[in-house]
């Protein structure tokens, strides 16, 4: 029944002279998300609106699912197109639409009419009033309520007429690619994919880094991270996942530094490596899934200690979230089940029984000094031998 979808976008509308940039980015993202959906679609921009028109048969649920993952979309309205604008035909088509969409006709409605085609014989107000009258005649159980209608029926007369009343909420945010790129430290856990999702939602393109420690972490753990990157990519667009072999660095730390500082030192080197890759790949910041106090390495003191090695801003979108809040988003974006698969990641293997929770940056630096002979080479090798996997 629906031949097109009207895409409503929010914040883009207020972007002044840059607005067209945001609109084109949105259209690109829409096309990208529809590429795997059966059928042919045309994405057009017309008088400040974006339309997706189906040129062939298509699967309605698939299209809605694809569109509801495009950041920047506030709402998706399935539209019935009326090719013949002649008034009696328009009434017929609109009435049929109401009949099929609302089989239980006990409802109040209001007609919002717009006449983009100014040569059309009826003015907007007249279209609204006359259509209301037609519908009231045809469906005696319906009533008009101009203040609080159950159904807001939109009729837009252009070359063709667009009829819609349903509005499916989109994810909001801004189109990916309109706000630069950032590098996500992606582990196999629950938090980091959510963090990536949240920053991507603000229009940021995502690059990801994963620290692999064979044989201490398995191929399956790596596969899990690839799967998570793909889940985030369904929203954020294609993600380049950089897989770093971290084993030698981890063993060197283990060999030479105090055990209770293992995790914090390890995380500092992870941040260093991530920043190096971020700068190489043109990212403007780092993203982590840290949340204050969640584990020993995420206390305020630990965060300060890990933050100290970076110059790029580190974005921590779930910093003030409880685990439950993060899980809720994780479930919403479909990452949770993958995240909870029980494979070791490199943070859990070498963890000390009682890691420091209030590290002192000076003390940590002194400990790191034990690595001074080897660490530059190890970091260089780790960065140079990284494997990059395109996840989409």
């Amino acid at each position: 029944m629906y031949k097109a979808f009207l895409i409503k976008y929010g914040e883009i509308g207020i972007k002044g002279k840059n607005r067209y940039l945001f609109e084109y980015a949105l259209m690109d993202q829409i096309k990208f998300s529809l590429r795997k959906v059966d059928g042919q679609f045309e994405v057009t921009k017309e008088q400040g609106r974006v339309y997706v028109e189906a040129l062939t048969d298509y699967d309605y649920d698939e299209v809605i699912k694809a569109l509801s993952r495009v950041f920047g979309i506030v709402a998706i309205c399935p539209v019935v197109l009326c090719d013949n604008n002649e008034w009696s035909n328009l009434c017929q088509v609109t009435g049929d639409y109401m009949e099929r969409t609302y089989p239980d006709q006990h409802l109040s409605f209001k007609v919002f009419a717009r006449r983009a085609d100014k040569s059309y014989p009826k003015k907007s107000m007249e279209i609204g009033a006359d259509m209301g009258e037609y519908l009231l005649d045809r469906f005696p159980d319906m009533t008009v309520d101009v203040h609080n209608p159950d159904v807001s029926l939109n009729i837009e007369v252009r070359e063709r007429t667009y009829i819609y009343s349903i509005s499916i909420p989109g994810p909001g945010g801004m189109p990916v690619g309109t706000n630069g790129k950032a590098t996500l430290l992606l582990s196999g856990g629950i938090d980091s994919p959510v963090a990536g999702y949240m920053i991507a939602k603000r229009g940021v393109k995502i690059d990801a880094v994963y620290f692999h420690a064979p044989p201490y972490t398995s191929e399956r753990a790596k596969q899990k991270v690839i799967d998570l990157a793909k889940i985030v990519a369904a929203y954020a667009g294609p993600i380049n996942l950089h897989v770093i072999n971290f084993t030698d660095i981890q063993l060197a730390i283990y060999d030479k530094c105090p055990h209770d500082e293992l995790t914090i030192i390890m995380r500092r080197y992870m941040m260093k490596i991530a920043e190096h890759i971020a700068l190489e790949e043109g990212s403007l910041g780092l993203i982590t899934g840290e949340s204050i106090g969640q584990v020993a390495s995420q206390t305020m003191q630990s965060l300060r200690a890990t933050n100290a090695v970076c110059t790029l801003p580190v974005y921590r979108p779930v910093i003030g979230f409880d685990k439950n809040d993060i899980v809720e988003i994780s479930e919403k974006i479909g990452a949770f089940e993958t995240s909870i698969q029980p494979f070791e990641d490199c943070c859990t293997i070498f963890v000390a029984k009682h890691p420091v929770t209030k590290p002192n940056v000076r003390a940590i630096e002194r400990s790191e000094h034990h690595l001074v002979d080897v660490i530059d080479d190890l970091l260089k090798t780790a960065i140079e031998t990284r494997e990059t996997i395109l996840c989409e």
Binding site: P214, P258, F350
Partner: protein, 406 residues
Amino acid sequence: MEIYMDNAATTRVYPEVVQLMNKIMEEDYGNPSSLHMKGVEAERYIRHAREILAGILKVEEKELIFTSGGTESNNLAIIGGALANQRAGRHLITTRVEHASVYQPMMFLEQMGFEVTWLPVNAYGLADLQALREAIRPDTILVSMMCVNNEIGTIEPIADAAAIIKECNPSTLFHVDAIQGFGKVVLHPKRIGVDMLSVSGHKIHGPKGTGFLWVRDKVKVQPLILGGGHQKGMRSGTENVPGVAGMARAAEIEYTDFENKLTHLYGIRSYFIEEIEKLEGTVVNGGRSRGTLNQPAAEHPEACAAPHVVSVSFQDIRAEVLLHALEEAKIYVSSGSACSSNHPAISGTLKAIGVEKRYLDATVRFSFSFDTTKEEIDECMAQLGRLLPMLRRYTPDGRKRGGKRV
């Protein structure tokens, strides 16, 4: 060189089996239920498979029910056996070291109101036959016991168990899970008083998704999969013709020149144990020497091992880490029980035989095939000799023991 030492998880399919299955899939692809020639041809493969398998077990051809594998066979025997005989009683007996495809159906039946007695085992994993004798009651309808333990390779004394069961309650059915035993032990279930026997194809170099349940004539079993009434209504669904034929061919090869192959494999196993015990901090779990289906003599309880499985605990090493380290050297093994290794649940068998807590997560299963060579064992030992000291340096407890704090 790739060294596959995970043959208790699954095996490489014999080339002869692949060849036969290819021919069936490409040329003789008929449905055995079809009335035309194509169907008759397909049916011939099934008949021939029955002949081979029944010949090996020395049972009747009509007593075999082909299934989708070991799990289905165990489910059919236990759930189907219990449902069909519940009027005679609702008491079941099994051991604490069974595979999940036995204990899960048992637990399911418990929820349905059946009563289950779980027999203890000794340090070698041998079921306590005295406890069995005491557990059998007039309302005991089924005893299920494995032939060879999948985690430690112990051969259970099923011949003695069968004798005890028939002595205490002749109407109690005895089911044997022979999924790890078939192809590694001479099995004549009918002669020793077994009533049902489960077998899987992919453990004996046959295809995955194949298996059968042998059910002694006149034993009542409620079919679990209903439909077109194939296999006399015991297991509906078009027979997996290439799979069944492939499994039978694999069994035929497995049992050819069997005694010699068995001697070779026990030799391999002894050599492996000898060599691995030379390495520091290793403990071999379960029996040591060649076992039989009868209870081992009291003075040699260690004589209860199947030839192909060795379970080894490594001091201060996480099994999963060792597994991945060996994997890098192209040596493939399992941690705990491979079938469920994806979730690191602690093994039931290892707990039941009293393996120390610190070893539960530090135990690796090596499992051989008749093709395993001494050279492969040597290579495996060389790698272990290299890896163990390295891995021990880097475990949370490792450095404390020998090392100084920096």
